[in-house]
Subunit: 299 residues, 2 copies
């Protein structure tokens, strides 16, 4: 019964066919230790966190993904692939322009300059960027899947890697959401940004997958820079709350972090993921789209 967690399902065998009837209970209804004040009365912990935690512990349905060793986590460095083709230059210019305006208008530049980036500001930035980061992998996977169906061709093994990236970015988002619940205006901005980005990225992927993977490659170079800066802030003692914050349970499970892991370990794991996406996307951009994807599941 504990294996089934908050689900009870019964199988009726009738006429040789299996029917499953499902009753799902809310996490709090049968798990008294999860009870907490209603989220509207509690401003610290995101109301999703308890649910996320529970479900992740019960059934791991995430795709395979790399589990980083201590040395892999610490050896991540800021890298740069020199743009050579026209699409590379266009991708690099797009990313640099986007980052410049985003950093100015989100207050990251000023905050970095003045040293006023606190945990709240970091989470706001991370949550916003991760809602965007989850888009490319899923759109690319969908478009390649549809292309395979439409042109009666093989996919050459790209889809699983793209889906793994998309899920991984969504896990970054869910991790950050455990620590902070954004307000109304922010949510509005996220919805707007997704509308624009999904439209433009889909159109761009149909026109030039090479441009898109290079674009994501450069985006991930910036992500590595940002998370490296975040680690520096933690190590400098600027983020006093995070210095004492344990890794959320969902993150500990997902990245298989050791006992007693802290937020710094979570940020290290996220940064390693971003460096991996960077390598993957630069590699895919340099390949013909009908060549075999060299990345195996979870690698």
């Amino acid at each position: 019964n504990s294996r089934q967690g908050n689900f009870i399902y019964t199988r009726f065998i009738s006429a040789g066919k299996c029917h499953r009837s499902v009753r799902a209970f809310s996490a709090s209804s049968n798990e008294p230790e999860e009870k907490a004040p209603h989220f509207k009365r509690s401003s610290v912990v995101h109301p999703l966190s308890a649910h996320i935690k529970m479900v992740m512990q019960e059934k791991p349905y995430t795709l395979p993904h790399p589990i980083w060793t201590e040395s892999e986590l610490n050896e991540v460095t800021i890298t740069h692939v020199k743009p050579s083709l026209f699409v590379d230059k266009a991708a690099y210019a797009s990313v640099q322009t986007l980052r410049f305006f985003f950093d100015v208008f989100s207050g990251y530049y000023i905050g970095k300059f003045r040293g006023t980036l606190n945990e709240k500001k970091w989470l706001t930035r991370i949550i916003f960027l991760e809602t965007v980061a989850g888009v490319p992998g899923m759109i690319a996977a969908m478009l390649r899947h549809l292309r395979s169906l439409r042109y009666l061709q093989r996919d050459h093994g790209w889809i699983h890697t793209l889906l793994e990236e998309a899920e991984n970015e969504r896990m970054h988002l869910l991790t950050a959401l455990v620590l902070r619940k954004p307000g109304f205006l922010f949510r509005f901005a996220v919805i707007g940004a997704q509308g624009i980005f999904v439209t433009l990225f889909s159109a761009a992927y149909i026109i030039s997958p090479k441009f898109c993977h290079r674009f994501v490659g450069y985006l991930e170079e910036e992500a590595v820079k940002t998370y490296t800066h975040c680690l520096e802030c933690i190590d400098r003692g600027d983020l006093k709350v995070w210095a004492k914050t344990a890794a959320p349970s969902i993150s500990q499970k997902y990245w298989q972090l050791p006992e007693g892991a802290m937020m710094r370990d979570v940020i290290l794991a996220i940064r390693a993921d971003e460096a991996h996406h960077c390598e993957v996307n630069h590699t895919l951009s340099s390949m013909d789209m009908d060549k075999q994807n060299p990345f195996e599941p979870g690698k």
Copy 2:
């Protein structure tokens, strides 16, 4: 070397970051046993089949999916969920209307009546329908992924099941493509049908996921009928070529068919998959979209 198959990749460790350089060779260049007359001179075997076969044997990157037992395969029956809500009735009417016109215009009705459905006609029908069948799972997975990012919500474990369905349908398609390579006009129809179906299904899924899962549930009821009829044709001796055709290697691998499996075993496995999608989609349609998906990976 044989593990790596037709890929050679080297890892350079530089500045703590891993770069992978990839050289991919065509399957025939280093695998003499795969050599065959150029596909333009050979009309029987689809040119993709050798490639598909090879890659599947080297690295299984497919998602988890059910492997059916002998009794599960044979106990599949035609089922029907009575429409109760308005969306159910609308979904049922849509599927019945679509099937009626498709059966009339594709010549399936006449063929069934006259008993002139041969392997070629079956494959044409199967290939066309499977290019459509692969759409809903991927579109639904993408829309739920984007919704999770956009509304900062959990997905509640639906995405993996939807992706498993999409991939499974694409495997049905790749299996059929091993046996037949469609011509120009047919390919044109597939591209057109996908354009229309992707647009309508995406719009419908945004408006009513319940309608869409019910629609797929009814579509799969029809798929079970069709594949049951196909099995009857084989058993009646109408499909003399398939009676002597071994299961394609890709199918044998994917469904873990026993040694000496024939086309009949492939059709049995596909029918069991369709019955499973039927159960899954009827279940999902009857659930609120923020309830936990009861289907575990590969189940």
